[in-house]
């Protein structure tokens, strides 16, 4: 049985359809990358998987619980098995890095402070930030913030790790470091990893399977090789970095020609 099962998911904002009947199964222990361009609906899909929004139609099952219809208590229970690192890291600036990581342990467990301290140190050590626990988020670099967010996501040893655009805004070396960290975490902790990204090198490094989103629908779902070999025009356009018609030189020239004609008239 898949750990996450999405069935005929439809999401609309003000009558505008953002996700159009998506279905997808994510198996235990696999790394699923949700790939797509800006506005393709991947962040919306992520919010549905986290139960942050309710769909117009369809269901999202996480560990067998339909979180699109579950009660608040059921949703809380499911969420304790999900660790999330947001795109902006979303660390609490008023707390130190170690307090950020310790937060869920203090709130959801009855562990002694010394045990929590040890666990926090271990999680920070895993992401290479053991020496930076006393710092506040605003004192960290972009890459360190993302690592701290991953450490916080790992605090309760979740079964599912969700990473939203982990390498966005990072230089290629830091981004590659983070990719290796994700691969390592999956091997060490045996977690199911869901990564939302539009970075192709990152996606092909970490993914077991890739789901390619375009305008709210899946254009292709498959292994890295299957996606690489896809002949779907939108998948090829994304992989081969081909601009849309509007961005092509003749289209731009025609637009400016019309503009100049209008000015002369």
């Amino acid at each position: 049985m898949p750990i996450i099962s999405i069935r005929d998911l439809v999401v609309e904002y003000d009558g505008r359809r953002v996700l159009d009947g998506l279905s997808l199964d994510i198996e235990h222990g696999e790394t699923m990358v949700l790939l797509g361009g800006s506005g393709s609906g991947k962040s919306t899909l992520l919010r549905q998987i986290l139960g942050l929004e309710r769909p117009k139609a369809g269901s999202v099952f996480v560990k067998g619980v339909d979180i699109s219809r579950s009660s608040a208590a059921e949703l809380k229970k499911v969420r304790r098995s999900i660790g999330v690192a947001f795109q902006s890291a979303a660390l609490f600036n008023s707390l130190s890095v170690e307090d950020n990581v310790a937060l869920t342990l203090r709130e959801h467990t009855k562990l002694a402070p010394s045990i929590i301290e040890l666990m926090v140190w271990m999680k920070l050590a895993v992401v290479g930030l053991a020496e930076f626990g006393k710092l506040h988020p605003q004192e960290l670099s972009g890459g360190m913030k993302k690592r701290a967010a991953v450490a916080r996501a790992l605090a309760l040893s979740p079964e599912i790790l969700v990473l939203d655009e982990p390498s966005a805004g990072l230089d290629p070396i830091v981004a590659a470091d983070l990719d290796e960290l994700i691969v390592l975490l999956k091997e060490v902790f045996q977690v199911t990893v869901i990564v939302v990204t539009h970075e192709l090198p990152s996606a092909f490094r970490i993914a077991d399977r890739i789901a390619m989103l375009y305008k709210g629908s899946f254009r292709a779902v498959g292994t890295k090789d299957e996606i690489r070999g896809s002949q779907d025009p939108r998948v090829r356009q994304f992989l081969d970095r081909i601009p849309d018609e509007m961005a092509k030189a003749p289209a731009v020239a025609a637009y400016f020609g019309k503009y100049l004609q209008a000015q002369e008239a």
Binding site: R47, L50, F86, F92, E107
Partner: protein, 267 residues
């Protein structure tokens, strides 16, 4: 005509929605308050409540005191300029003492707290929303109202009445200074007259008001923060809105409370 009716209807529904949201949020906060309490609650939340108390209460002391002293002087001088004509300057003592205890102490404090802390609540929560920190709390199975609002509300409930008492004392002392310089009335005699004119019910009604004002400021300001949509510019708008709405509602509720106390308490 249809457009006007449509606008009126929409505006009415929006206001009802707002009132409903504040009430639901208030009820949810009350249910979540247990964890913010000392000894029985979560000790990390209690620490946050104490931090909020320092910010709302201790940091506001100089401002509230100065506002009360200035207002005390103003009230005494304005009262004296009229009462002197009737040879009743001693009634300035009653005016300042009763005026501050029942009315001005809680109201001035509420206006100061609304400007200082109400705006800070809205800005903090609005920024947390924009930077996905509220979503982050939710996915960690923590409720933002319980985690962010409850400590603020508890702190406001404790500090606003305390600040009101400080404001009362400062205003009354300012009146005493004025009486000393203008009529050479001794401070001891002034204080004796003050205690003669104030009754316990004046203090209690003032404190009831300050608890209501704390509720309005905390709930309205935090709701404005939670309703932030979009980017940083909307945080600025929510901050302004928090101060304007909470100050307005504090004054309206003050009028309602004063009317209730006037018509229900036997004089």
């Amino acid at each position: 005509m249809a457009n006007v009716l449509e606008e009126v209807g929409k505006s009415t529904l929006d206001h009802l929605d707002y009132v409903g949201s504040v009430n639901i949020q208030w009820w949810t906060t009350l249910r979540a308050m247990g964890n913010a309490l000392p000894f029985v609650g979560n000790r990390y939340r209690w620490k946050e409540s104490v931090r909020q108390m320092l910010q709302i209460g201790v940091d506001a002391l100089p401002m509230v005191s100065l506002m009360a002293i200035c207002t005390g002087f103003i009230l005494a001088m304005q009262g004296a300029s009229e009462l002197r004509r009737f040879g009743a300057i001693n009634y300035v003592i009653d005016l300042v003492a009763v005026g501050f205890t029942r009315e001005l102490g809680p109201l001035l404090t509420a206006i100061a707290v609304s400007g200082r802390s109400g705006s800070a609540f809205a800005a903090e929560i609005g920024t947390m929303k924009v930077t996905e920190e509220l979503d982050s709390l939710r996915v960690m199975a923590l409720e933002p109202i319980e985690f962010v609002l409850a400590p603020k509300y508890l702190a406001a409930l404790i500090t606003v009445p305390c600040l009101s008492i400080v404001s009362n004392v400062c205003g009354i002392l300012a009146g005493g200074l004025f009486m000393f310089f203008s009529t050479h009335l001794s401070p001891m005699l002034y204080m004796h007259e003050v205690f003669e004119s104030i009754q316990l019910r004046d203090v209690i009604t003032g404190l009831i008001k300050s608890v209501a004002f704390a509720t309005i400021i905390a709930q309205v300001s935090c709701l404005e923060g939670f309703r932030v949509r979009g980017g940083p510019d909307s945080v600025g708008r929510s901050t302004t809105s928090a101060v304007v709405k909470s100050t307005f509602l504090v004054i309206v509720s003050d009028a309602v409370f004063t009317a209730i106390f006037y018509f229900t308490v036997k004089h």
